[in-house]
Symmetry: C2
Subunit: 249 residues, 2 copies
């Protein structure tokens, strides 16, 4: 599937061009266009900041003005933090990504246009775009060029990302414990505590056991952890027998 083109208009700092490329690669975008970069092109600082995303910089295309950089595109969103006196839909990043995903799926050539560090896009550049996206912030709004590119690329990726919300990382070997393994742990612990007199008086035995079981259930343990805890119980119980007898009964 094609992805939106990122167009940086009159970027001033190589660092931001590099940061943009790096952000793009993290989040699956690959086509970068540059309109009249102030410090010339190629740019050593851009390469340095791009780290492993230099390939995106090497394939970046250079244009003299925004209208030629956008000419072959069909749906272009302009990023701006400023209010404009012109009627244009202002989208949230989530909404713009929803529209871009939808457009790309229909074969529409899409782009996201970013302005220069100093002043953003001018009104003429905004007038070349289909709509405007503004990153919502608190009253304090100060997001630099590289960061804006990253937030939009992140939203693009995030929209269809299927990473589970919660993934229990069990490491390379361990598996989630079965109920039986947990029941054996409970039995082992409760047996030792009973011998120890910890579950006395009998009226406290049941609530105490339930509380301990709840705690271990909440911990959502692996088979390996059950074995470790059973070793802990053995070690503690052994220590108790080893030290207590000489002094106690």
């Amino acid at each position: 599937m094609t992805t939106p083109v990122i167009i940086l208009s009159r970027p001033q700092l190589g660092e931001n061009i590099g940061a943009a490329a790096r952000a793009m690669k993290n989040f699956g975008l690959s086509e970068l266009r540059l309109v009249a970069p102030r410090s010339g092109w190629p740019n050593e600082k851009a390469n340095h900041m791009a780290v492993g995303a230099v390939d995106i910089l090497e394939r970046a295309k250079l244009f003299g003005d925004a209208s030629s950089a956008l000419a072959d595109l069909q749906f272009v969103v302009a990023t701006t933090a400023r209010e404009r006196g012109v009627t244009k839909p202002v989208l949230t990043p989530l909404e713009v990504v929803r529209q871009l995903r939808n457009a790309v799926a229909q074969g529409t050539r899409c782009g996201i246009l970013f302005g220069s560090e100093r002043a953003g896009l001018d009104n003429d550049e905004v007038s070349l775009a289909t709509s405007v996206v503004t990153i919502p912030t608190t009253g304090f709004s100060s997001i630099n060029l590289g960061q804006s590119v990253m937030l939009l690329c992140y939203e693009w990726f995030r929209f269809e990302d299927e990473t589970p919300a919660v993934r229990i990382d069990h490491g390379p070997v361990a598996k989630k414990a079965t109920r039986e393994e947990m029941f054996q742990l409970f039995a082992h612990l409760e047996d030792e505590l009973l011998k120890d007199g910890f579950l006395y008086p009998p009226s406290k035995e049941t609530p105490m056991i339930r509380n301990l079981r709840a705690l271990f259930n909440r911990a959502d343990m692996t088979d390996q952890e059950v074995r470790t805890l059973r070793g802990v119980i053995v070690a503690l119980a052994k220590g108790k027998y080893r030290k207590k007898p000489p002094e106690g009964a």
Copy 2:
């Protein structure tokens, strides 16, 4: 409402500390803690990068190690891109924010812990946290410290942000056109086109009119734009009468 504390453990570059403060302020977080910043504290480069968020740096608290920086917190999420051999829930940024919002609403003191630029959090530091958050990326994963802080702060803000997905920015004066204003525009245009013979032959009149109306409806115009377009029609029609008569019938 309180917000999560951002804790940077052994940050190396002042620029990243400043970028973190700036990201925090954009997205409504305010409490920053620093564990043994490598270049000392205060840091001129941090102040420079923070721009208008220097107040967050000035209020930042300094700690000697991660455990003292986390001591008063109750729910701490460690950010890491690496797989660990230890069983811990790995959350997406959205899920971590859902849990943090929920925890904060219940009065739980929360924090998000970030490691150093070079190697991230070490295993000991991760073991001090409740769970782990990993920013999902493509196979290429290279997000720096300042950017990671920004993405997490962005997710925090975004979760309860109520900015409408699409907002039509009408500028300071214009209002969305009423249907009647649109009907008058249609009538004006269609009348001129009829006089012009553009809607000929009659079999084409209705589909042509419907297509033109659909186009203007899609543009979702303001009252000001209706007036402008009616002026355009007058100007074009007048021009036609002004030039054509000498040559034509």
